[in-house]
Amino acid sequence: MFWNWFKKQIETTTESKHSTKPKTSKHRVTLTNLNEQLVNIDDLKKNEIDINGEKALLIYIDTLVQGSVLQDLVLTPLNQVSENYGPEEVLKNSSKADLEDLETLIHDIMSGQTILFFLQRELVIKIDTYSVPERSITSAENETTVMGPQDSLTETLNSSLSLIKRRIISPNLKTKFFTLGTETQNTVAVLYMENIANKENVKRVMDRVRNVEYQGFVGLPIFKQMLEDKPLSPFPQHGITVRSDNATEALLDGRIIIMLNGSPEAAILPASFFEMFTSPEDFYNRWTTATMLRTIRLFGFIISILLTSTYVSVLTFHPEMLPPHLLIMLSESRTQVPFPPVLEVLIIELVIEVLREAGARMPTKIGQTIGIVGGIVIGTAAVEAGLASNVLIVLVAVSALLSFLPPNFLMSNAIRLVRYGFIFAAGLLGMYGQMIFLAWLLNHLLNLTSLGSPYMTPVIPRHWTDTLNSILRAPIQFLVTRSGLSRSKKQLSRPLDEE
């Protein structure tokens, strides 16, 4: 059946058990072979140089190697070559290439190494000269906080790793590299604390990462989707962050971090639904403030998905629920509107979505503000023209605002989508429709897992202590245990201050 086919497709992309890497027969390294492979790459430089009377070809990619580096690491040392010191000795960071393996050599050239091809004898030397301009470490633009560390991960894996490693100084912090992507050859790093993280989880992550087959990853969010337990769900099942403190905190809780070279994010596995509503700033704040903010975010979520659909169901099916003054107000504002409430809500919601999308594509952040202001102008005009009721404009605006509350961007998008389900259900079956859709949604969330751990912890807690760090953020002194979600080996023993 169609679904089975679809399922198979997904399985093959995510968890194909049989690694089918193309087995190429190894070719010998010769100049003709090299030239054959490296045609039409205009930034490939081939300079013939003379080393102590010996002719050699210097091959490198111009755009990956900076001139000064080439000068410092290759050309200047080569001047010292004499009878006593051969080129291997004077060149630091160099190695002899395997002459039987052309593919590796080409891969090395493409990833920024400089090749010294000796024309007179069978010797090829590789020098690591990879040097590209890098973005410096800046503060996070997406998950901003007022307090706490401000450095965020960058596109360069090494500098991102350094941000974490300078925080956790321990041999227990393990780092595993994988090379993935048949064309892009991305480096993927899997980080975990060996003494804390759950072994089973680590093994599961390694297996999944190893089995991923794809031509190339441009960003971690793509890669992350391939590791998810239920790829069809609208909800993100792993945490994602650009903040180094967030990633470090997760490691210390026994989670596993995945990073991808070329992408400034880190994925946190496993993660739970409630963590999508938490921000690292909750821990920098006092616990009372943090608890209040978390409560607002969670209730914002509930209100955001139910507000406009309740408008539909009350106006269509349950007018008896309105108190007299609201009844008059609502029916007054609805008298001119030519659409039934479902259509009215859908139109206005879509207008907001469109404005938001347009605002997001505008060059600056001001664009967003303009978009929202534009929305209000359009809204006012629509009310005055009698196309929509003014009460609805308020409700839609509120629910749109509330949907931006979760710090996790993917979750915020999921909320926007789920809302439409509720609106349709309300238009069809009123409040019962909303609730039956809620039941379906809850069931869906309950059945989601993140790396085998239930997504809805701590509603279904593994440890009762999980509830201390959920909607509630208990004082730090009470958070003496690791979360049950990470199934960590040893429980933390953070002694309470006894004075």
Binding site: H318, M321, L428, G430, Y432, Q434, A439, W440, L442, I460
Partner: protein, 370 residues
């Protein structure tokens, strides 16, 4: 997730499965069902709790004799293939009708109160689709759903405040003015809220801590009894005798007592939110029925199409053209009698087990003697 034959239900799962298998839609009608004994109904509710506790004991002790088998398997093991199959068939029919009964009562209620100009077809179909989605995750999924549905509906209990504020507590005064027949009537008609606990026999093999299963199940039962009791007490103090006897859904009127400044008539919300509890209860029954089909047609092997099959049968019973008097007979009489038979069944099975064991031991002794 978490499918398959292994122990997977922890204590919270057991407590809330039991909690949800009692109660259910009957909460809406229970004060009406018990109105034969008038204002003494709260005593009947406590009686339900005690009776459930008593009959729970043989169920768990039967379960401990067969820690890995559902009642379907136990039936076949103890009574033989033919009788066992027949028993299983009867249980299957019973639980299917219970699914239909629970959902039909609720669907009718939703239709008549919140959307009188609609037919029940759409409501019923959506209800069953979500139910199937829940059962697809196995018994643990149902248990989790029960936990969540409990916490999402329990706050509605706060609204009983309004009923208590406008009440006459003299009604609670026990007055034994009713004949034994009235008490019997009330007990019989109200027992729909109690019968659900028998389902523990079907999910007992999946419980992790079977030694404490009785304790946890008892907690679940009393949790449910407390809530039913609360509703009964609220109805007693809020209504007159005539109202109790004539109102079909007293809980609705209790909700109507609530006066809030921004919203009125929250019974609409109450009924709609109640879908969570009704779904839990109906799902447990439907899951049981599905296990029954597994037992009868595929030698206890799990087959997904069984679920769709049995769900469509139940849906047909809900929507199908069944004469009203037949419905009344089935839903009000037979189903309750069948429920009692199911409760008494483990006692009979335990006796059978004892007899068989003794025979075996005697044989063993004879063998060793000779």
């Amino acid at each position: 997730m978490d499918k398959g034959n292994f122990k997977k239900l922890n204590k919270y799962h057991v407590i809330f499965l039991l909690h949800c298998s009692l109660g259910g839609i009957a909460l809406f009608t229970i004060p009406h069902n018990l109105s034969h004994v008038g204002y003494n109904m709260w005593m009947v509710v406590i009686l339900f709790g005690i009776v459930a506790m008593i009959f729970l004991k043989p169920m768990t002790s039967l379960g401990s004799k067969f820690p890995d088998d559902t009642l379907y398997v136990i039936n076949e093991k103890l009574t033989g293939k033919a009788v066992g199959k027949l028993l299983n068939l009867l249980i299957l029919i019973y639980s299917t009708i219970q699914v239909a009964n629970t959902s039909k009562l609720y669907i009718r209620l939703v239709q008549s109160v919140t959307m009188p100009d609609y037919t029940i077809t759409m409501i019923a179909i959506t209800f069953f689709i979500v139910m199937i989605a829940i059962i697809n995750g196995g018994i643990k999924s149902i248990a989790r759903f029960s936990i969540l549905s409990f916490f999402l509906t329990v706050w509605m209990g706060y609204y009983s405040n309004w009923a208590f504020a406008d009440s006459n507590f003299h009604h609670l005064y026990p007055r034994f003015e009713h004949s034994l027949k009235d008490w019997g009537h009330a007990f019989f008609e109200g027992s729909q809220i109690m019968l659900g606990f028998a389902l523990i026999m079907f999910f007992y093999p999946y419980i992790i801590n079977q030694k404490k299963a009785y304790k946890h199940a008892a907690i679940g039962i009393w949790l449910a009894i407390i809530f039913i009791g609360l509703i009964c007490v609220a109805s007693i103090v809020y209504f007159s005798r005539w109202q109790l006897e004539n109102l079909l859904y007293p809980l609705l009127n209790l909700y109507q007592a609530v006066v809030l400044s921004n919203v009125e008539r929250i019974e609409t919300l109450g009924i709609s939110l109640y879908v969570l509890l009704v779904l839990s209860k109906a799902s447990i029954y439907l899951w049981t029925a599905k296990k029954g089909v597994d037992a009868l047609f595929s030698k206890h092997k799990n087959k997904t199409w069984h679920l769709y099959f049995i769900a469509s049968v139940a849906l047909f019973i809900v929507l199908g053209p069944i004469p009203i008097y037949v419905q009344a007979l089935i839903y009000d009489k037979w189903i309750i009698i069948a429920g009692y038979v199911l409760i008494l069944l483990p006692i009979f099975l335990l006796m059978l087990y004892k007899v068989k064991n003794r025979e075996k031991r005697n044989k063993g002794k004879e063998a060793s003697a000779s």
